[in-house]
């Protein structure tokens, strides 16, 4: 997506501010460029007139006009400030809103494509960058060229012969600016890269400080850091050395032009072709013209620098959410039965690189099914298909007798409760977090869910009980407590299917057993899928599914599997070693 299109889509109700701001800027510039002309008139006409006549009415008149112009210019300037701030910040808000809403519609697959950190950067830093470019754009994009043009017109009207000076200095400045920028950009890119490297090495040291200390590697790390810090400094110097020329070149060109004007203009004054006032005004115009050129180059730099941000933002805006509810979607999930019918799945949609291969499975409503398999055997992938977090690559997946792709997504997910392996709590109280499961849950329902999840006891031990503030990311509870809260939250949904993906790994075995017991007695009609590392967590299930490298190896009761499944037996014995 191009910048112009993002601009068009996100200006919204702030369009008029963004259009009016340049208008105000034109007003300001018009005054600013006319004041020197008035000075010239004052010096060349009004003063000699007053000297001749001895009365100062003309001087006062032109002085009054100039004062009025300064005030009008100030008013326009105010308007510009207000309009550009309002317009740009409004645009920023709309852009941020559009991004956030888009991300909310993302499927898991969409999210996989971007990392969490990069999505956050796009929503914060990148939006701010584009917002400030827009602000600069409405202020400068019109202002600088208009200033250039108006100052040039007045200069031409005053004394066309002197404009030859500009014919030399303007192209020279333009060339210098372009050359400097061309040389500087790649150097700055190198610098940014080195800088990123430095920052990530600091971050690594922060995360791994225990490893650094345990292996006594502080000196090694310091040396590594010093080397990359030196590289950053070298890259920075290489880049800034080029940019340094900007200021002095501008000064030289400006001052040479002034001296040239003083010489040429001086000759003309002596020749009687020009007056002193014109000379002073001309000097001001030279300054204005060269300055406006410089400003324009800054604008250009800003635009180039924001190119990366714009690209990152459009990537998100252009991403198509690949899981959406179909037209005429079903809202009613009949029961918790699940059928996998020749399901193949690949994260890239590539049939040659399948994560799940030909999965056939039928689970009755209300059944408890345990899922066992080694690291990377696609346990999580398998259950993620049920609430349609991903779509099957081929085959069919039926929930409540209908293909999951026929349901309204929200209706389906309301009935399929999933406790994720990597789970999160949000800032707010425990009660706020639990209400995610059911917004209108009564206190009794919340307590009941927490009792089932073996969480009620520890929640009550907190001074503020259910109103305990969790802080960002649920930092105030231990790992096991967090998992139990997540289970309670999922229970409150009163779903037809409940999936626990290694959801009790940090909970001790006795509590784990209590939770499973509660699930069984309190939700007899809910289908329960339990992924676990410990055989003990699944051996009481109605059926146990054994997965290996994305294939179903076996499906049966604990006793059946002990008899016929080698893998299952192996896992079992590995957990039983040492038992007499």
């Amino acid at each position: 997506m191009k910048f112009t299109q993002i601009l068009k889509n996100c200006t919204g109700e702030y369009k008029k501010h963004l259009i009016l701001c340049p208008v105000a800027m034109i007003g300001e510039v018009a005054m600013e460029t006319t004041i020197p002309l008035m000075t010239a008139t004052l010096i060349d006409k009004a003063i000699p007139h007053s000297q001749e006549t001895g009365e100062i009415s003309q001087v006062l008149l032109y002085g009054g006009i100039m004062l009025a112009m300064a005030l009008i210019s100030m008013a326009f300037g105010f308007m510009g400030s207000y309009l550009s701030s309002k317009g740009a910040l409004g645009f920023g808000r709309n852009l941020r809103q559009a991004l956030f809403e888009k991300i909310q519609r993302f499927s898991f697959k969409n999210i996989d494509r971007f990392s969490t950190a990069s999505l956050v950067t796009r929503l914060t830093t990148d939006v701010n960058q584009v917002q400030s470019v827009v602000m600069m754009l409405v202020r400068m994009a019109v202002r600088s060229p208009i200033m250039f043009i108006m100052a040039l017109i007045w200069a031409l009207r005053l004394q066309p012969a002197l404009v030859t000076v500009l014919a030399v200095s303007v192209p020279l400045l333009a060339i210098a600016v372009v050359v400097i920028m061309r040389m500087a950009f790649p150097r700055f890119q190198v610098m940014m890269k080195k800088y990123d490297g430095l920052n990530s090495s600091i971050q690594e040291n922060l995360i791994g400080i225990r490893v650094v200390k345990a292996f006594v590697r502080a000196r090694h790390e310091k040396e590594k850091f010093a080397a990359s810090a030196d590289e950053v400094t070298a890259a920075q110097r290489a880049a800034e050395k080029v940019v340094l020329w900007n200021g002095p070149i501008m000064t030289i060109l400006m001052n040479c032009s002034v001296v040239a004007v003083l010489w040429l203009g001086g000759k003309m004054i002596v020749g009687g072709e020009m007056d002193f006032g014109t000379l002073t005004a001309f000097i001001t115009y030279i300054t204005q013209i060269l300055m406006s050129l410089m400003m324009f180059s800054f604008l250009f730099v800003g635009l180039v620098l924001s190119r990366a941000s714009i690209a990152r933002i459009s990537e998100v805006l252009e991403e198509q959410p690949d899981i959406v509810s179909p037209d005429g979607a079903q809202n009613d999930v009949r029961d918790g039965s699940i059928v996998f019918d020749h399901v193949n799945f690949s994260y890239q949609g590539n049939p040659d690189n399948l994560v799940l291969t030909d999965v056939n499975l039928s689970i009755r409503s209300g059944e408890t099914v345990g899922i066992i398999g080694g690291t990377g055997s696609a346990k999580t992938t398998l259950v993620s298909l049920i609430p349609r977090l991903y779509d099957v690559t081929s085959g069919r997946l039926l929930v409540g007798g209908k293909d999951v792709r026929e349901y309204d997504i929200h209706a389906l997910r309301d009935q399929v409760s999933m406790v994720l392996q990597k789970n999160v709590l949000f800032s707010g109280t425990i009660r706020d977090n639990l209400r995610w499961g059911d917004e209108n849950a009564t206190d009794e329902e919340i307590t009941a869910a927490c009792q089932a999840a073996a969480a009620d006891e520890f929640i009550r031990s907190f001074p503020d009980g259910y109103d305990t503030d969790l802080g960002q990311g649920g930092v105030n509870v231990s790992g096991g407590q967090k998992q139990r809260l997540c289970i309670a939250r999922a229970l409150l949904k009163k779903p037809k299917i409940m999936i626990l993906d290694d959801a009790t790994s940090a909970v001790d075995t006795a509590t784990d057993a209590r939770i499973r017991q509660a699930l069984r007695t309190q939700m007899p009609d809910t289908t329960k899928l339990i992924i676990a590392q410990r055989i003990a967590s699944v051996m009481d299930a109605d059926h146990i599914l054994v997965l290996d490298e994305g294939r179903i190896m076996d499906f049966g009761t604990h006793e059946e599997l002990m008899q016929r499944s080698e893998i299952y037996r192996e896992v079992y014995t590995s957990q039983q070693k040492g038992v007499a």
Partner: protein, 632 residues
């Protein structure tokens, strides 16, 4: 460029001290700074003097020439030309000085920052673990990024510009006084007004920027949290509600931001046009003076641009002042980190290479014998004794708490001998990890003693103590680099063969060889391209290559499935031979074959013994263990 508002109005708490310290830092480049000052003086003087010289140009050269011309006399422009050439030379000198000052300041600022960064990092690496416990990574990180950035802006721009602004004000004032006292007094009469307006707007914009910063903080916090938990948001169909909350916070940012930016950008039209107003008033008064013949045309022509060179730096100074404040606040945070006390080490017992002489005595040797000893100088009688490094660990009545009020470990006593595997079992928060953190002195105990080969560990140099302990931690943490480099982290001079052997012990060799580039596969972002289990295997290999007498495995195999774990254990058995091993695990299957299992509850060892003994005791361990079968 649009006006830059202050980013965050974090005011320095002790500006004077921080400034003094910062100046001390810059003191290293005293000579360069003096040179920079001279250069700025020259370039500012060139600019203001150039303007001032318009008066002689008009009054001294051009006006007489015009008169001569009007009387049809022959005009000689050569003196005027040489005057202009002199002016040009002065301008060029000014530009050269400007270039020089920019260049030197760039070298000084980048050099100072480089120095500061390294010093900060070096200090950070020596800080105790406790420091990192108490702060978020973002908090420490921002000292390297935000705070260093504002400091850079200050050094490379705000500082030289402030100097040049101040000089410009002084010099143009001097030239104005020289030109015409009454017109100067007029300008000076209006100056307090400018200062007042600048200060008022500065204050308002500061306050509104603080409000904006707060709103932005709230929004960014919400964004971060929601995106982190995006999967949960979707599983709970919480999208609409998230958007609702976001919309509110987003609007808050817009309102606060509009206000803050309006104020910040208002300063320029106000100051610019106030400058115009002064210009006009001076022009008026000057014109009247000319009419009265109490001033010349040249005076007015030179005076008018000087008012601009006097008034513009005033608003610049206010901008620079806010940058300076921010930079001081940043510098303060940087110094704060550098003032944190480093990890103390009063140990004097060192680890040295040794061999046994004919009599079986241990003697120090520079050769690589594979044998190590503790060199223990006794202060009292000046003798030195050597104790062979074996890996004997004894806890005697150890008490410990992370904060003095809250004891985490109560009266813990235990002993572990080479060849033994000691396991710790207990629920989260029972104090298992704490025990191992005490052995390597990440934290110091409050009461009791820990002895290593009979030596109180407080007497052992921390680096040597840690070098003799191999740790595999719960969170693996790999570094950016190849797999080989990551394993080599355990022993920097390990050969490729040693690395391979260590990987084999950890059962990692097979999967590493199947990575795209084998041992040379680059790991990025804490090994994000590997599964948690694979990362743990590499971490085990890293500890194995170090070949220490004591191994500490803190949930080292928690993310490895039990079948793979059983395989690793085979290799580990070899690794553990003759070593003291401490194991912390959640899974009882991991600890079952230990010589001693300690069951911890609330920081107290409530049961100890081997698996069979503990089962016989029918206590907590028995409950935990049979809990697994309760439902079968």
């Amino acid at each position: 460029m649009p006006p830059r508002g202050p980013k965050a109005m974090a005011k320095p708490k002790n500006a004077k001290n921080t400034l003094r310290r910062l100046i001390r830092y810059l003191g290293r480049s005293k000579r360069q700074l003096i040179l920079v000052f001279c250069c700025i003086l020259i370039s500012t003087a060139a600019t203001t003097a150039g303007t001032f010289l318009l008066k002689p140009a008009v009054d001294g050269y051009l006006t007489p020439l015009v008169e001569q011309a009007s009387q049809n006399l022959k005009v000689d422009l050569t003196p005027y030309l040489s005057f202009l050439l002199l002016l040009l030379a002065m301008y060029l000198a000014g530009a050269a000085a400007q270039f020089l000052s920019n260049r030197i300041m760039m070298m000084v600022s980048t050099g100072t920052l480089n120095h500061l960064r390294k010093e900060m990092f070096d200090h950070m690496e020596d800080l105790p673990i406790r420091y990192f416990d108490q702060r978020t990574h973002g908090e420490i990180m921002s000292r390297y990024t935000n705070d260093t950035d504002t400091l850079r802006e200050f050094l490379s721009q705000a500082f030289p510009q402030a100097v040049s602004s101040a000089l410009s004000i002084l010099l143009s004032l001097a030239f104005m006084l020289n030109l015409n006292i009454w017109m100067t007094l007029l300008v000076l009469a209006l100056t307090p007004l400018m200062f007042k307006i600048t200060a008022t707007i500065g204050k308002k914009s500061g306050a509104s920027f603080a409000a904006q910063q707060k709103a932005v903080g709230a929004l960014n916090g919400y964004i971060e949290e929601t995106i982190e938990g995006q999967r949960v948001v979707q599983v709970f169909c919480h999208e609409e509600k998230s958007i609702d909350v976001f919309t509110g916070k987003n609007e808050d940012v817009r309102v606060a931001g509009t206000r803050a930016n309006t104020f910040a950008s208002m300063l320029w039209p106000i100051m610019g046009n106030l400058g115009h107003a002064i210009y006009v008033l001076v022009a008026l008064v000057g014109s009247i003076f000319i009419v009265n013949h109490s001033a010349t045309l040249g005076t007015l022509i030179a005076f008018l641009p000087l008012t601009g060179q006097f008034s513009r730096p005033i608003s610049n100074l206010s901008q620079q002042f806010s940058i300076i404040l921010q930079a001081l606040a940043g510098a303060e945070r940087i110094f704060e980190l550098m003032d944190e006390p480093v990890e103390e080490d009063q140990g004097y017992v060192k680890l040295v290479r040794c061999r046994k002489d004919e009599d079986g005595n241990i003697v120090e040797t520079p050769e690589r014998t594979g044998m190590w000893a503790w060199k223990h100088p006794h202060k009292a009688d000046g003798t030195v004794t050597y104790t062979e490094l074996r890996g004997d660990v004894v806890f005697e009545h150890v008490n410990f708490g992370y904060v003095p009020e809250k004891t985490v470990l109560h009266d813990v006593s235990l002993y572990a001998k080479p060849g033994q595997k000691i396991a710790f079992v207990g629920s989260t928060g029972a104090g298992k990890t704490t025990i191992t953190n005490l052995i390597n002195r990440f934290y110091d105990i409050q009461d009791g003693k820990i002895r290593y080969d009979g030596i109180n560990i407080e007497k052992i140099k921390k680096d040597d103590l840690r070098r003799s302990l191999g740790m595999v931690l719960q969170d693996t943490h790999l570094f950016t680099g190849t797999v080989r480099e990551n394993i080599r982290y355990g022993k920097l001079d390990a050969t490729d063969e040693e690395i391979r052997r260590a990987a084999k012990i950890a059962n990692a060799d097979f999967f590493i060889r199947h990575l795209p580039q084998g041992y040379d596969t680059m790991l990025t972002g804490d090994g994000a391209n590997l599964s948690q289990g694979q990362r743990q295997l590499i971490a085990i290999a890293r500890a194995a290559v170090a070949d220490p007498p004591v191994l500490i495995l803190d949930e080292a195999t928690s993310s490895i499935d039990t079948r793979t774990e059983a395989l690793i254990e085979k290799g580990m058995d070899g690794l553990m031979k003759g070593r003291t091993v401490f194991v912390i695990a959640h899974r009882l299957s991991t600890v079952r074959n230990s010589q001693a299992i300690m069951v911890l509850e609330n920081g107290v060892i409530i049961e100890r013994g081997n698996h069979e003994q503990l089962l016989e005791q029918k206590g907590k361990y028995y409950q935990l263990y049979t809990g697994m079968f309760e439902l079968s």
